[in-house]
């Protein structure tokens, strides 16, 4: 599997999709019709795979949908020409466009679970398009489904189709969705962030299955993603978009090795952030040490088994592991929200009571928590001033003018303007809300801040700035972080030590350099090797390695 497609060779292929000067507008009550996509040209030949890359709001999805002649609710295609296999989509009727969709152009959405009808079996939904369009009989469609499920490397391909969507895993569902898009053998498939919601170890399986099948059927594809490393594995050419405009357009290899535009370079730079780790001094006493914690939500069902974590003062410990591995449960036990079944936690030399209620105000102040979703962490009915003022009053007894000036200081500490204080959370951007959340934790002047997946919902550039902010505040005030994440890139950027969790246990822990370079446990190895690299040959290489390992075994 070492063939590198030559983009030039495909460019000679018959043109399939041609978009010229595409303009899309969106309606808002406040400002009327505003431009979202501002004049984009796009060409795609048969069998070619094109990547659309950019931050959220760049117009990637809009452009992808426009290839089907479709605009979302509240949006309209206001200008330009779209021609699919010689059919002018802008001039044709809605009936003609609808006939193309699902038959010759298919769409694979980010959330497979939201795209399947939970009341029908997978295979029934698979057969809907080919049977409805009178391409195949139901029996033929079922046989074809089983064949394609096999090609998508779904386990038990001959029976999995007879399950309901909730009976298969997220990764399997995403593969079934791709197979379904393939059911009518379309000329073009649009993949809109197909693996963003998946774990890295699952993502790799889905990516390789997608890559395999579009090659087998020589299908053209538009691959939309904000993750450059993923796009690098899948596509022949990359278009970088920003605020509805094309920033750069080149072959994958060229754009990876030598990006031209400043913006593209800044996107690339995010990939290689690295924090030099601070090593523990011998004999240093930990700020927090959790010993042999076992915990769960129902008696008899353990989510944490014998977990021990030590956090040194001023250091960052990253907890990594896939969803369901018990990372967040460990955080809840440390904060006292979930009293453990067994084990104890010492903080600053004294034992912490297991229940939040039994902890003193001082103990509560010293451990702060940042939540995964910045959206739900701020009360929508309180002004930012009130949100930040409350911990100041409760923990430090600051009120009135003193509190107000401290709020301004806190906002300054997280690089926000004082005017933010008089806004509601809904009036802020995702990054700003995240910063307010950090300010809220800083207000308590804590010793330890627990960060639960705090950058996972953010764009790469925004996440990068947040991580930088966290690092510089740490250097300034010397508090510790317990950083829960599934993204190993983030670990590299912020951690000193790493704890790897798998099925409620700690399978490996140690300094970052040790874990990242010489992992011992096989889950850690799998995790590390599943992180996409900015190298177009990475996916094929990893798969070859894994195949070799499994055939040895």
């Amino acid at each position: 599997m070492t063939d590198q497609r030559q983009p030039t060779q495909w460019a000679k292929g018959e043109a399939l999709l041609k978009i010229r000067g595409l303009r899309i507008e969106g309606w808002t009550r406040a400002s009327g019709w505003t431009a979202i996509v501002k004049g984009i040209d796009l060409d795609l030949a048969r069998g070619e795979v094109l990547g659309l890359v950019g931050e959220s709001g760049a117009g990637k999805s809009m452009t992808g949908l426009a290839a089907m002649g479709y605009a979302r609710d509240g949006c309209r295609i206001s200008g330009g020409a779209i021609s699919f296999d010689g059919i002018d989509l802008m001039a044709s009727t809605e009936a003609i466009r609808r006939a193309l969709r699902g038959l010759r152009i298919a769409y694979v959405a980010q959330s497979a679970i939201a795209s399947f009808n939970p009341a029908h079996r997978l295979i029934e939904q698979y057969a809907e398009a080919p049977v409805g369009r009178r391409l195949r009989t139901r029996t033929e469609a079922y046989a074809d489904a089983i064949d394609l499920f096999g090609r998508m490397r779904l386990p038990k391909a001959d029976t999995i189709g007879f399950r309901y969507p909730h009976q298969v895993s997220g990764g399997e569902l995403q593969r079934a969705m791709t197979a379904m898009a393939m059911a009518t053998r379309p000329d073009l498939i649009i993949f809109d962030e197909p693996t963003t919601a998946l774990d890295v170890t699952t993502q790799i399986e889905v990516l390789s299955a997608i890559k395999n099948i579009i090659k087998q059927f020589n299908t053209a594809a538009i691959f939309i993603s904000h993750d450059l490393a993923v796009v690098a594995q899948m596509v022949d050419r990359v278009m970088v978009l920003r605020e509805g405009q094309l920033i750069e357009h080149a072959d994958t290899k060229a754009i990876l090795s030598a990006p031209q535009a400043e913006y593209t370079k800044s996107l690339w730079a995010v990939r290689d952030r690295h924090k030099p780790e601070v090593r523990a001094d011998a004999g240093e006493r930990p700020l927090l040490s959790a010993n042999n914690l076992t915990a769960g939500y129902i008696r008899g069902e353990l989510v944490l088994r014998d977990v021990s974590i030590e956090i040194m003062k001023g250091r960052t410990v990253a907890v990594v592991g896939e969803s369901g591995s018990g990372k967040s449960t460990a955080a809840r036990v440390i904060t006292g929200l979930l009293p453990p079944f067994g084990g104890e936690i010492t903080f600053n030399g004294s034992v912490l009571p297991p229940q939040l209620k039994q902890r003193s105000r001082e103990q509560r102040r010293r451990i702060q928590m940042l939540y995964q979703s910045a959206e739900t962490a701020l009360n929508p009915r309180q002004l930012i001033r009130q949100i930040l003022g409350r911990p100041l009053k409760l923990h430090l007894g600051l009120v009135g003018r003193e509190a107000n000036s401290r709020v301004v200081e806190l906002l300054d500490m997280v690089e926000l303007l004082p005017s933010i204080a008089d806004r509601y959370p809904s009036e802020l951007s995702g990054g700003q809300k995240r910063r307010v959340g950090i300010a809220m934790a800083l207000a308590a002047e804590p010793d330890l801040i627990i960060c639960d997946e705090i950058t996972s919902g953010l764009d790469q550039l925004v996440a990068e700035r947040i991580l930088k902010l966290l690092l510089s505040r740490q250097q300034q005030y010397g508090f510790s972080y317990l950083f829960i994440t599934h993204d190993l890139g983030t670990v590299d950027a912020i951690a000193d030590e790493v704890v790897v969790m798998f099925q409620g246990r700690i399978v490996e822990h140690g300094s970052k350099s040790k874990i990242m370079t010489t992992p011992v446990h096989k889950y850690t190895k799998l995790l590390l090797s599943s992180v996409p690299r900015m190298d177009p040959g990475w996916l094929d290489g990893v798969l070859k390695d894994r195949l070799a390992i499994s055939s040895d075994a």
Partner: protein, 278 residues
């Protein structure tokens, strides 16, 4: 759920149906407040013969005892609406706070309150009210307490389910971590965010209270004569129906108009409250 600034902004732009509802309800409120100044005669004053026709000295004629129908209608609307507002407000207070407690604390408190409410709700409201009114005597205070308790169980159900969805949000957990007391968590963190659907629920409860008072009065157990009340006015003049007069339909229409108008407002607000965030 809709964000608060968006909800507040949207409240300034009611659609046509809501405008109709607002104007009608506002008219009722005006009539209720200014009743004594608007009505040509006293509430219980007998001014002529029974069942005098429309026009002449009495715009809408007189009722079965010879009282001015227009005056009775004004006072009837005043008494029914006023009583309904008071009852709905009390029902809200005694329904909401246990609901917030149940949602916040969970556990056995939630179970006990929930099962108690289930028991009360399983008895048909009208029969329940009749039972208690005949037992404790049909005075206004008893009427208020009985209907308020009945309606509070419905308020409890709605408020609890709204609060349950808010209790699990991170900012409530953050408040717990901060060491906030129960009062702060329920009144400052949960209640303001539960408000939009609860405002709609208040309107709906008002409608049901009006209907229940009217039904009870129609049966002779509600507001007692000689006080004017829309429900008892329907009954007093019901015999006229067989003579082809529309007179008994007037108080009935007054009840219907109020309830429909209030529902138009409720529909609009509950639509706003449940509209997905944009």
């Amino acid at each position: 759920m809709v964000t608060w600034p968006a909800f507040r902004r949207a409240l300034l732009f009611p659609p046509l149906s809501a405008w109709i509802g607002i104007i009608v309800v506002a008219a009722y409120i005006l009539v209720a407040v200014l009743g004594p100044f608007l009505s040509p005669h006293g509430e219980t004053e007998i001014v002529g013969a029974a069942y005098q026709p429309w026009g002449g000295p009495f715009v809408l004629g007189t009722d079965n005892l010879g009282r001015d129908m227009l005056t009775r209608l004004i006072y009837g609307a005043r008494n029914t609406t006023g009583l309904a507002v008071v009852i709905a407000a009390i029902a809200f207070v005694i329904g909401c706070f246990p609901a917030l407690l149940a949602a916040t604390l969970g556990g056995w408190i939630d179970q006990v309150l929930g099962r108690f409410v289930d028991v009360v709700m399983s008895i048909p409201a009208l029969i329940f009210a009749m039972l208690f009114l005949s037992f404790f005597g049909n005075t206004i205070p008893v009427l208020i307490v009985v209907i308020a308790i009945l309606e509070a169980t419905r308020v409890f159900r709605v408020a609890r389910s709204v609060a349950k969805t808010i209790v699990v949000l991170d900012y409530v957990e953050a408040a717990r971590l901060r060491g906030e007391g129960l009062l702060w968590i329920t009144c400052r963190e949960i209640l303001p965010n539960a408000l939009p659907p609860l405002i709609a629920e208040f309107g709906l409860r008002f409608c049901f209270v009006v209907l229940l008072i009217s039904s009870l009065s129609f049966l002779g157990l509600g507001i007692q004569p000689p006080r004017a009340d829309l429900g008892s006015m329907v009954r007093d003049n019901a015999t006229l129906i067989s003579f082809g007069s529309v007179l008994p339909l007037l108080p009935a229409a007054a009840i219907g108009l109020l309830v429909v108008a209030m529902n138009m407002i409720v529909d609009w607000i509950s639509d706003l409250a449940s509209r997905s965030k944009r």
